[in-house]
Symmetry: C2
Subunit: 196 residues, 2 copies
């Protein structure tokens, strides 16, 4: 009755899942563990030093059009960001800190909205600080914590755990060891968790 939601802030399709997963999981009586990680090291190990959507232009052009359609279908705002993929490490470290407390889902949804709906640069600490303030969290203290060794190693170990669980893209969903990849598999993953 539990699903692990592995996501990367620079991942467009992770935005779709992040905005839907809590309601969809609740409807099936499934609880969600939010697992921010970095795709960069995983893509590097596959020989990519950029998003595959940039490396393969036809696939990239398709993805942006598909995102417009999928967001319209889900009733989500969408605006193509100026920078892609964004440098997401600070946001991911904050989300990891949030996952050690209780504010990871709310923070993560606001980061996705900022990037893919409001057109903001989520690598900017000012943008991230405003989000933390909106959540009544101590922005300056948390931004300072992103530089602490235990925060850096926490996110690094979570990224290593993603690779160890055979995760190769985002969003991914794990129910025990059963892996589901892509926003298109969210419902199947939740159904698997419900009946597991």
């Amino acid at each position: 009755m539990k699903i692990d939601f592995w996501y990367e802030f620079a991942s467009t399709y992770s935005y779709l899942s992040a905005m839907r997963i809590e309601d969809a999981a609740r409807a099936k009586g499934v609880t969600v563990q939010w697992k921010p990680f970095l795709l960069g090291p995983i893509f590097n190990s596959q020989g990519w030093n950029d998003s595959p959507f940039n490396i393969y232009p036809a696939k990239g052009a398709y993805m942006w059009r598909d995102m417009e359609r999928q967001c319209a279908a889900y009733g989500l705002a969408f605006s193509k960001p100026d920078i892609f993929p964004v440098h997401s490490v600070t946001a991911a470290r904050l989300a990891w800190l949030g996952s050690q407390a209780d504010w990871c889902p709310a923070f993560s949804c606001k980061v996705y909205h900022a990037q893919f709906a409001a057109g903001l640069d989520i690598s900017d600490e000012g943008v991230l600080g405003n989000i933390l303030n909106d959540l009544n969290l101590p922005a300056d203290d948390l931004l300072a914590q992103t530089q602490a060794p235990e925060t850096k190693s926490g996110l690094r170990e979570q990224t290593e755990a993603a690779a160890a669980n055979s995760i190769f893209g985002a969003p991914s969903f794990l129910v025990g060891t059963e892996l589901f990849w892509g926003d298109d598999r969210l419902d199947a993953a939740l159904e698997f968790a419900r009946t597991a």
Copy 2:
């Protein structure tokens, strides 16, 4: 009210769409134009000389498990073929010949079933000949036609048309110039065609 279905015989996810598209399209009043093509030249232009499911092992292992789940969900038989990706050019030339007549859909579904359900090698002209015989088609004559210049150029031009339409994978669906990629987009593509 028309959809172009672009598919490659070596593509696992094309199997899912091939077996579903005619019933699904009929339910929406949409007609289907079957467009066999070869992914090899398109993958080559992206720098790949093998299936990405072989180049990226984690993605490949996931795909086979996902195919098991998707086939179960759709009520389709599935058996992982010994050879992947299969050498599909003769089958594709036959399908192209069928698309110049009226037997392309029936032939293509039998080829997919042979490969992904019955465990047969569809690069084998004996296997293809049996399928043609089952359809009461002149197997020897058609197999000979796969070597004719007009057949070779017909399939080559269709593959070039796929690339010209920004197709980068299979299955793909085109409604006019609107592109949908992947079996997961079949329903959305048909709905787009219905309301176009």
